[in-house]
Symmetry: C2
Amino acid sequence: RPLVVALMNQKGGVGKTTTTVNLAAALAHAGVRTLVVDLDPQAHASLHLGVDPADLPLTLYEALLDPSRATQDLVRPVSARLDLIPSRTDMAAVESELADAPDRSARLTEVLARAGAAYDAVLIDCPPSLGLLTLNGLASARLVLIPMQAHFLALQGVGKLLETVAALGAGVNPGLRVDGVVLCMHDTSSTHCREVVDDLEGFFSAARGTGVSWADAAVLRPAIRRNIKLAECPSFGQSIFAYAPSAPGAEDYRALADSLVERWRRQ
Amino acid sequence: RPLVVALMNQKGGVGKTTTTVNLAAALAHAGVRTLVVDLDPQAHASLHLGVDPADLPLTLYEALLDPSRATQDLVRPVSARLDLIPSRTDMAAVESELADAPDRSARLTEVLARAGAAYDAVLIDCPPSLGLLTLNGLASARLVLIPMQAHFLALQGVGKLLETVAALGAGVNPGLRVDGVVLCMHDTSSTHCREVVDDLEGFFSAARGTGVSWADAAVLRPAIRRNIKLAECPSFGQSIFAYAPSAPGAEDYRALADSLVERWRRQ
Ligand SMILES: Nc1ncnc2c1ncn2[C@@H]1O[C@H](COP(=O)(O)OP(=O)(O)OP(=O)(O)O)[C@@H](O)[C@H]1O
Ligand SMILES: Nc1ncnc2c1ncn2[C@@H]1O[C@H](COP(=O)(O)OP(=O)(O)OP(=O)(O)O)[C@@H](O)[C@H]1O
Ligand SMILES: [Mg+2]
Ligand SMILES: [Mg+2]
């Protein structure tokens, strides 16, 4: 049974897609059979992995509406040990189309039961919202990772975000745990960023031993430094490892993957 | 009568708040009497200008629900020639609370008629969504500026964004014009970024002479370079001009303000 991880943050542009794709590619390189689920109607994870949603007859959209369609045809191979369940733009309609279905938050769980069993890890790229799609992501996951930037304005939302994950999760998935924060687009030389990281670490240590879903969360290491190569490779439909394997962005996501494998082994 | 400008992009974290606040501060320095309207329940523009939404009895939220409350008490002075209509977190409820009001998209226009008349320019910081709040922003504006990053994934959404602005605007404000794109967090040394900018400029020149609302839009200059000072100053409740007036971020927003004043004079 795979470890299912939701990469989630309702704030936009924080690095969810970049982290889902490159962490998944790094895990695959490290021998972990990995499935990426593109849960975002923007379909950026699909584009990032060289899959044009417009060309596909069967995507996550169709499978959420009818999970019996979650066969092997749903899954696109990307590279050795790395597969993708793609999205497409129309998936935005799923929120209204499933609004009255009693099992509307369990659809992705069902899709993964049918199409996700053969993997060691499933990474879910969530949209920048707290709607039905993200709820499906949280319902089907065991762990949540929160990509964010170590900036003052980003910090403002974190407390509220964690409470929302706890509230959403409690309804549909009481076992859900927030594993930690992935620092994206990080400026290692900035005092301001270091202070924001200190605040985050203080926030998490204060939660230790309490019953909250982020009680064992950490600021995960290493931080991912800003590296223009990470913004370029989506335009070639490649992970950073295919595009620029010795770039700092590749170095950082590889090191993060290694530290997560170790952390998840010990849990 | 003021020039009303909406800073809008439904993508998150692209520089809307940073641009609204620092462009407004630069305009005020240049002699333009400027009002910032915080249309985002995140209240980041308010925080950025040193106003804690939690302390205020009267914010844009109350005024949208009852525009007769849009008196001088609604407006907070920030500095010479720079004022703010603040937001607060509960304003997120306005979307459902006004859902059945026939004039629900005209509320901000009414607020500005009462409280915004004495300014040369009104800059509206929109939330990262296409809901009722953003619709109010578009209904009350004459121009739209679109902050964005010159990255591949950001480019993917632009065509759709412009069509959405045109569609939303057509219903409530047929005279609305997209004045252009503000390039934020820009990497001047990156070939990739230059290519994205070329694509944007090609897109706009192809629209010249057509009837679309972005027919006269441009990539506005200069681009705003990435500068950590711009991420630091919100934590002190200051614009970049109060915090670090000789930083590159101040230089760029000052130059952008000057070029916009010139552009708007000629229009
Ligand atoms: N470490 C980095 N260095 C440079 N650019 C980065 C880095 N991480 C992400 N980016 C770029 O920043 C932008 C936002 O990142 P990304 O799309 O991963 O965020 P997101 O949270 O998935 O956004 P959304 O909320 O729209 O889904 C993209 O253009 C991406 O290529
Ligand atoms: N030129 C820049 N250099 C460095 N940091 C910047 C720059 N512009 C913006 N930032 C930082 O990037 C983050 C996102 O910017 P900002 O909050 O202005 O975006 P936004 O579009 O208003 O976001 P939202 O969609 O959440 O309203 C903030 O932490 C901000 O301080
Ligand atoms: Mg994304
Ligand atoms: Mg903002």
